[in-house]
């Protein structure tokens, strides 16, 4: 291939141009939706804390120090220690890993299964649609926390099981939203064209319909993330989620944090603050993302 071949030049430029377009889109999002930008920045910080936990945490989150039980926040332990003398800050820093792992996993599994079922339901229509819709109705009628509770009791506790328990109640919610978007897309000419061209169902669903319902899917995904983190904290608080000695925010609020709330308030204060800040960030970001992607609400 000769040097100076125009196609090569174009090909080499393409990634750079795409990168710049992404940057421009992010810049526009930040300018028009300052609240969403704040949420996004908080999420980036949280992800960094989770990734760099080994560097950031001053102590081993599991190391007990019976000489320093219930120490108030101070120079040695910035956020105090718990009933076993474990460092509060280190446990919160490592707890972000648990929260992100369960949150991301649960919303990804629940959201993606919901996406596939929602699109399939809309695409096939008729009896399949009716049947799937009734199944979703049944799942929706179960209160979220009660369904999660029942699943945890069946599967057992632990981070992975909690993730699945949270994913299941999220599935029908995503399926509902995606289905209604997919119903509109099914009527569009290009889907008819694909069918007329003799493509199989799987190909039409995955190649032609899924890419076009990405906006509602992404919105549901970010909305779930905050909820999933909160549900994990609630289940752990009830003793049905992540188990000791793993560092998890909901777990830190359990037991001694409530019993000694008056004498050692830092034990309950900081983990709750961490949960609130994390969920706040995801909700703020998701909210703005929805505004940005929903054309009906664009600023006019």
């Amino acid at each position: 291939m000769a040097v100076g071949d125009p196609t090569v030049a174009v090909l080499e430029q393409a990634p750079a141009r795409r990168g710049r377009r992404w940057l421009a889109a992010v810049g526009e999002f930040c300018r028009e939706r300052p609240l969403g930008a704040v949420g996004g920045a908080l999420i980036v910080v949280m992800v960094l804390v989770a990734v760099l936990a080994g560097w950031l945490a001053p102590y081993d989150p599991l190391a007990t120090d019976y000489g320093a039980m219930f120490s108030p926040p101070g120079a040695r332990h910035w956020l105090g220690t718990d009933a076993f003398g474990r460092d509060g800050l280190s446990r919160i820093v490592y707890g972000s890993r648990t929260a992100l792992f369960v949150g991301l996993g649960a919303s990804f599994i629940g959201g993606t299964l919901g996406l596939v079922l929602g699109v399939a339901s809309a695409y096939f229509g008729g009896r399949t649609d009716l049947l799937l819709e009734r199944v979703m109705d049944v799942l929706l009628a179960f209160p979220l926390i009660i369904l999660a509770l029942a699943v945890v009791v069946i599967l057992g506790t632990g981070a992975v099981n909690v993730m699945l328990a949270i994913a299941i109640p999220m599935l029908p919610r995503c399926a509902r939203v995606v289905r209604s978007s997919a119903l509109a897309i099914r009527e569009l000419p290009y889907v008819d064209a694909a069918r007329a061209a003799g493509f199989g169902h799987a190909r039409i669903i995955f190649r032609h319909m899924l890419p076009n319902v990405m906006a509602p899917y992404l919105i549901m995904l970010t909305a779930f993330l905050g909820q999933a983190i909160l549900l994990e904290a609630s289940l752990s608080f009830l003793g049905l989620g992540v188990q000791e000695p793993v560092a998890a925010w909901g777990l830190m609020l359990r037991g001694a944090a409530v019993e000694f709330a008056e004498t050692a308030p830092w034990m309950g204060l900081f983990p709750g603050l961490a949960i609130s800040l994390a969920v706040f960030a995801f909700n703020l970001f998701g909210d703005s993302l929805r505004d940005a992607l929903d054309p009906r609400l664009r600023i006019q």
Binding site: L35, D137, I145, L149, A150, V153, L253, I275, L284, I299
Partner: protein
């Protein structure tokens, strides 16, 4: 309209049956049963024969389909049966706790509505100004704070600032209204704030949509008083989706306040559910789930009918 209502009403039945089948099977998948849990709790060693006799007493030796049919036939006669753990009739077990949960849900819903509608309207009118931002941050903050943590903070705050604690023992409203309210107002505020978030967001976006309709411009062009346009023309039309959201949340509150009840030491349906499932009390858990699901499905039905009544296009679909 009548045809639509009947059709929509009949659609409730398969959903309820589905819920019944699901919880019935879900419970049988959980390892252990009520007999084992009881003997383990008593710390006795017992032979398999004794366990089998106990199971036979509760009808657990019957084939699954027979147990299910027995339950369904009982339901048709409004007979929920007896709790497998205590032996008391389930209606008795649920009654007082249902009263508590119902009162708390109603109070929390009232708090949520009173917060959501004014805040949502203001946020919509001042879209993308600092007022809008403050409202959104306030409501999202409510959504982000775990209600059990907020509960701990509230109790701690009372203790430190006022040296006072809300009453921790439940008194029915008809016995001592003041004592009752002094206990339930706090969880209602904590939960209400949280649940106002979704409704606020709904009010805001519904108002934004309605305010762009032609008839609002017409009303303004006629020179109508702005407040009148807002209340009579805009809010009235924006309220339907808001009422739906609030109704559905109410249904969730009834059985979903498991964690809040724990913090505020309330003996409601949520706690009863956790106990029932821990005891493997099949009959009680089934009755509870079906009750909560029924309220949810009923609210869903009512909102759908309300929609069809307002918007005739839906009836014809």
């Amino acid at each position: 309209m009548a045809r639509y209502v009947v059709k929509r009403f009949l659609l409730m039945i398969p959903t309820l049956i589905g819920v019944a089948v699901l919880i019935f099977l879900l419970l049988r998948v959980i390892p252990g049963d009520v007999v084992e849990v009881r003997f383990v709790a008593q710390g006795q060693f017992t032979s398999q024969d004794v366990l089998q006799i106990e199971r036979a007493k509760l009808g657990l030796d019957q084939p699954l389909w027979k147990q299910f049919v027995t339950w369904m036939v009982g339901l048709l006669r409004f007979d929920f049966g007896v709790s497998m753990w205590t032996g008391a009739p389930i209606t008795e077990e649920i009654k007082l706790r249902f009263a508590l949960s119902l009162q708390l849900s109603l109070m929390a819903t009232a708090v949520a509505t009173l917060l959501a509608i004014p805040l949502g309207v203001v946020a919509a009118l001042k879209q993308d100004t600092w007022v809008d931002y403050v409202v959104r941050v306030f409501s999202i903050a409510g959504l982000a704070m775990p209600s059990f943590w907020l509960g701990i903070l509230m109790i701690l705050g009372f203790l430190i600032v006022f040296r006072w604690l809300p009453p921790m023992v439940y008194t029915p409203f008809w016995v001592d209204p003041w004592q009752n309210l002094a206990q339930l107002v706090w969880p209602a505020l904590a939960v209400g704030w949280r649940y106002s978030a979704v409704a606020t967001r709904m009010t805001r976006s519904a108002m934004l949509e309605v305010l762009r309709e032609d008839y609002i411009r017409t009303a303004r062009a006629k020179g109508l008083w702005l407040k009148l346009i807002l209340v009579r023309h805009a809010l009235k039309n924006a309220l339907l989706p808001v009422m739906t959201v609030i109704g559905l949340e109410f249904a969730f509150l009834l059985g979903g306040l498991v964690v809040t009840e724990q913090v505020f030491n309330l003996n409601g349906l949520g706690l009863l559910f956790v106990e029932a499932i821990a005891h493997r009390d099949y009959t009680l858990t089934q009755a509870l789930v079906l009750l909560v699901a029924f309220v949810f499905i009923l609210v869903n039905f009512l909102t759908d009918v309300a929609y069809a009544w307002v918007d005739p296009r839906i009836r014809l679909r």
